[in-house]
């Protein structure tokens, strides 16, 4: 099956995607797909880099490309402007790059339907999809999926789906966002695209005015929504949390603020393909999943304390073909877990990466910036749990003995970090210590 066939489940007149700029019905979408495909068919064995910023365009191209290109690299907006993108694109070896200007030209060409004289081209490829993860070292990794592996957990009940209107606040070219898009498509639900809007207030207003009733967002986003008072009393049917571990407080608060909603938190890793959702309202997941498996996935805790997942089928691979799995088919998610009160709880990343409201911070990057400040001897950057952002960045500093005034040094460190790092990477708290511990191999102990 290719993704375009999902459109046959609904009437051509049904409104499918709504963004602040435009809206599109299933029928209009089918016409646009014909137009996109013309330019795809001109390329031999298309390896496509999708560099689109308009959400409706981006999603249209995804549908047009499935079955008609070998492999597609979904380039998130934030990655397009980042330093490392040139290198990644080279590694990917695209022979067709779809930019906004190409998309505009394509759509402007005459719209035609497939008819007897203009028959639907045969499906040519089992298209593979390349998604970028934020990576353990800060350099994005490219992970390949098949259409089947991306849609395997999507519920395809159109009868139930028609009652849901999904809002999208994630980037649709990231794993979490793509899941929302595909879920809405598979069940014939309307999708409200809030993801390009800047403020939470405007997203919430657009969401409400479009009669949306289902939303998937990070716990940090949900806390912010609760604190803003926007959407108070809104009749949510579905509330989904993903992208960061959900704590008990936010789950309780959502349940009491939106009693009509089903609240689910999702555990997923791009490396392992889709994971599973937990709907019992409790943080973490039941320990019995380790024995019984969940949603077709087998779970296990590895020797180093991280969660290992063996996907049911369709194991994703790193782009280029290397398998990510061990001999038994388990993939290391890099997420440290512990068992507490019959539940498996998430502790953080084994790489020490800090998750500030869904943004990944690599401690070593912050440490090297802090070391540039005169007077700093040794430095250790660690996460600190936060009820608001999930985690915050903190720094322990061992000053050189020549430092007379620590307050001055602290100011200098913060000023230097602000100039060099994104806001969420600047340490929220700085503590001075007499010595930073090293483990027997001479590395700084991060735990």
């Amino acid at each position: 099956m290719i993704l375009e066939e999902l459109l046959n489940k609904v009437d051509d007149s049904q409104l499918l995607w709504v963004s602040p700029e435009r809206q599109i019905t299933a029928g209009e979408l089918k016409l646009d797909i014909v137009a996109c495909r013309k330019s795809i068919l001109r390329t031999d064995k298309p390896r496509v880099a999708l560099e689109l910023s308009d959400s409706v365009n981006a999603l249209t191209w995804i549908l047009a490309l499935d079955g008609f290109s070998e492999v597609v690299f979904l380039v998130p907006a934030s990655l397009q402007v980042s330093e490392g993108y040139g290198h990644l694109k080279q590694q990917f070896q695209a022979n067709l790059t779809v930019t906004e200007s190409l998309a505009r030209e394509t759509m402007a060409s005459a719209q035609e339907e497939y008819s007897d004289g203009n028959s639907r081209p045969e499906v040519r490829y089992a298209t593979r999809w390349v998604l970028a993860t934020s990576g353990t070292t800060g350099t994005p990794k490219l992970i390949e999926h098949s259409t089947d592996s991306l849609t395997k957990t999507c519920k395809a009940d159109v009868d139930r789906g028609k009652d849901f209107v999904w809002g999208l606040v994630f980037d649709p070219f990231r794993f979490a966002g793509l899941q929302v898009v595909l879920q809405a498509l598979a069940s014939g639900s309307k999708l409200v695209l809030c993801n390009r809007m800047e403020s939470l207030a405007s997203q919430a207003t657009f969401f409400r005015d479009s009669y949306a009733n289902a939303l998937s967002a990070t716990p940090t986003y949900w806390r912010k929504l609760l604190m803003s008072g926007a959407l108070q009393g809104h009749a949510f049917r579905q509330i989904t949390l993903g992208g960061e571990p959900a704590d008990q407080s936010v789950l309780n608060a959502l349940k009491s603020a939106f009693p009509s909603a089903r609240v689910a938190h999702i555990y997923a890793s791009t490396e392992a393909g889709v994971g599973f959702s937990v709907t019992d309202g409790l943080a973490g997941f039941p320990k019995r999943y380790l024995d019984e498996g969940v949603a077709g996935n087998e779970l296990r805790i590895g020797d180093s304390g991280t969660l290992l997942v063996k996907p049911e089928k369709h194991t994703p691979a790193s782009s280029g073909g290397a398998s990510l799995a061990n001999d038994e088919g388990f993939i290391d998610t890099g997420d440290l877990v512990e068992i507490r009160d019959g539940r498996v709880h998430f502790l953080g990343r084994d790489s020490g990466a800090i998750n500030v409201g869904g943004n990944k911070v690599i401690p070593e990057e912050v440490e090297s910036v802090i070391r540039e400040v005169e007077g700093v001897g040794e430095v250790l950057v660690k996460p600190k749990g936060s009820g608001v952002m999930g985690q915050l960045v903190t720094a322990e500093i061992q000053p050189l003995s020549s430092v007379a005034d620590k307050a001055v040094l602290k100011k200098a460190i913060i000023a230097h970090c602000r100039g060099r790092l994104e806001k969420y990477k600047v340490p929220a708290l700085i503590r001075f210590v007499t010595e930073i511990e090293h483990n027997p191999t001479g590395k700084i102990s991060r735990t």
């Binding site: 803003s228 008072g229 936010v250 608060a253 708290l429």
Partner: protein, 85 residues
């Protein structure tokens, strides 16, 4: 120093450390926190700094989670915790 004063002082500091400014003339009890100029990162920093000063984080201790909407709600959460001891 009263809890409210500590909060006001660290609120200023959190604004400064996120390079933001107060978006209203002064903080009143009915000021909506996220309209005050402090974003959620700044707010998280404020809670973390208050924990350093007061040695508790009421949001971690709470059994029934409450997310404050106004500045008054926020101060009340800390004042109630201090009363409880």
């Amino acid at each position: 120093m009263q809890v409210r004063e500590v909060i006001l002082e660290l609120f200023e500091e959190a604004l400064e450390s996120t390079e933001s400014r107060l978006q209203c003339s002064e903080l009143k009890d009915d000021t909506v926190l996220l309209d005050s100029g402090l974003d959620s990162l700044g707010f998280a920093i404020l809670v973390a700094r208050l924990e350093e000063e007061l040695e508790f984080d009421p949001f971690v201790e709470m059994e029934e989670a409450v997310y404050p909407i106004t500045f008054g709600d926020f101060v009340a959460i800390y004042e109630n915790r201090v009363k409880k001891g």
